[in-house]
């Protein structure tokens, strides 16, 4: 298998950016954390264990509360991992850094990465229109995350404005607040509603598509329930 990153596990991402699909080679005796239900295929010497993670808060956040752990036994093993949405997959090797992922963006990580859900505050959660929770990943090791649409990294130096539904991930050095963009007329008619204003220095990963406009578009195609 082609090696893209020497520091962590050997891996390959195919079919970027529309149908990103991850293959990881897990060395013998090592463990990989994978989002529940994301395993598509694997070698037979992988042992799977389901772990309850993030507790009740993550359950409330609508995020699946289970992360599966795959351990390679008696030799290395390949696993293919497919995200639920058609979209992109990105990789980062964390070196004692912390990265925040949007609620559904976690795909897989090394066992050494600490994965927990973080309450982003009632006001932020409510007005972002997304989830009340973010996934906090920290430690040393590989992390893979996924999106709906392509993923584009943006290096933030003196702030950036991002539509709440387009945020995939951001680094620890950034802080954000929810605010409106434009005047009050824009709040109702712009279609942008509220945005995240990032400040500080770091990196934000954005996705080129967003689920909610797709759902709005599909709505008129649903059948109308008869009244009787």
């Amino acid at each position: 298998m082609e090696t893209l990153d020497k520091k962590g596990f050997d891996f390959r991402i195919d079919c970027k950016p529309d149908y990103g699909f991850l293959t990881v080679n897990i060395p013998s005796g090592k463990k990989l954390k994978v989002e529940a239900a994301a395993m598509a295929s694997m070698d037979t010497n992988l042992e799977m264990k389901t772990k309850f993670r993030g507790g009740f808060s993550r359950f409330l956040g609508g995020e699946s509360i289970f992360i599966n752990e795959f351990t390679a036994q008696n030799g290395s093993a390949d696993i293919q991992i497919a995200p639920a949405c058609p979209g992109d997959v990105e990789h980062i090797y964390l070196e004692n850094q912390t990265i925040y992922l949007q609620n559904t963006a976690f795909l897989a990580s090394a066992d050494s990465i600490n994965v927990e859900s973080k309450w982003q505050g009632f006001m932020k959660g409510f007005f972002s229109g997304e989830s009340f929770f973010l996934i906090k990943c920290s430690g040393v090791g590989d992390l893979w995350f996924n999106s709906y649409g392509g993923i584009i990294p943006i290096d933030v130096e003196d702030g950036y404005v991002i539509d709440t539904g387009h945020i995939v991930a951001f680094t620890d050095g950034l802080t954000y607040e929810i605010s409106r963009v434009g005047g009050y007329k824009s709040l109702f008619f712009s279609g942008e509603g509220l945005v995240c204003r990032f400040s500080g220095q770091g990196r934000v990963w954005i996705q080129t598509r967003k689920i909610t406009p797709f759902l709005t578009w599909i709505n008129p195609f649903r059948r109308v329930k008869s009244s009787n």
């Binding site: 649409g149 392509g150 005047g183 712009s190 279609g191 080129t208 598509r209 599909i218």
Partner: protein, 238 residues
Amino acid sequence: MEDQFTTVDSSKLNVVLRMQPGSSAAEIRLGPRQSFTAEGGAMIAMSPNVHMMTTTHKKNSGGVMKGLKRMLGGESFFLNHYSTGHEGGTVWIGAVHAGDMMVKELNGEGIIVQGGSYVASSPDIEVDMSWQGFKSLVSKESLFWLAIKGRGTVVVNSFGAIYPIQVNGEYIVDTGHIVAFEESLNFSLTKAGKSWINSFLGGEGLVCKFKGHGTVWVQSHNTTSFGSILGPKLKPRK
């Protein structure tokens, strides 16, 4: 990422298309005191120094009441105007569907664009929403059309891939597959088969017959067909 702002001709936009063709997004780089217009709701991200203003139609026209009326009328087409001050900036524009984008430079000529395909345009481009050429067209999505004219840059998107067809004489395109076409073309709505029954049973219904010389930009997929597959599988709405 190269960071050059071409401000020599501010009537044109510096557009870089990314993630083509399936997940395309437009990175629009503005020089100082430059502006452009984009479809409401399409902004992904922007530099903090870019200013955004919403209008219901063209710049400096249409008040809040007009906007409310449009909303009540079931229309939700609003335009956002982005502008920079003494510093430049970047605005990222996306789309609803999986598909491609195309940048078209206009030199005074006009094109007709399907409402959902419009992404953005430079300030000297006029976007007219009152075009009624396909008035009789009935569709679940109530397709509407924009007459776009002027000098500058227009960005459009598609569901699936975009392919241009040079019409020289006559050509037939399904109305759901039209992204845009040159105003110089004549068109008429007609049936695809020999009889109306054939046309509807064949699933084609109304098609557009273009005549003359000019380009039609066609999309490989049709949102109405996709919606018709997904819709019946979803829970009925009340």
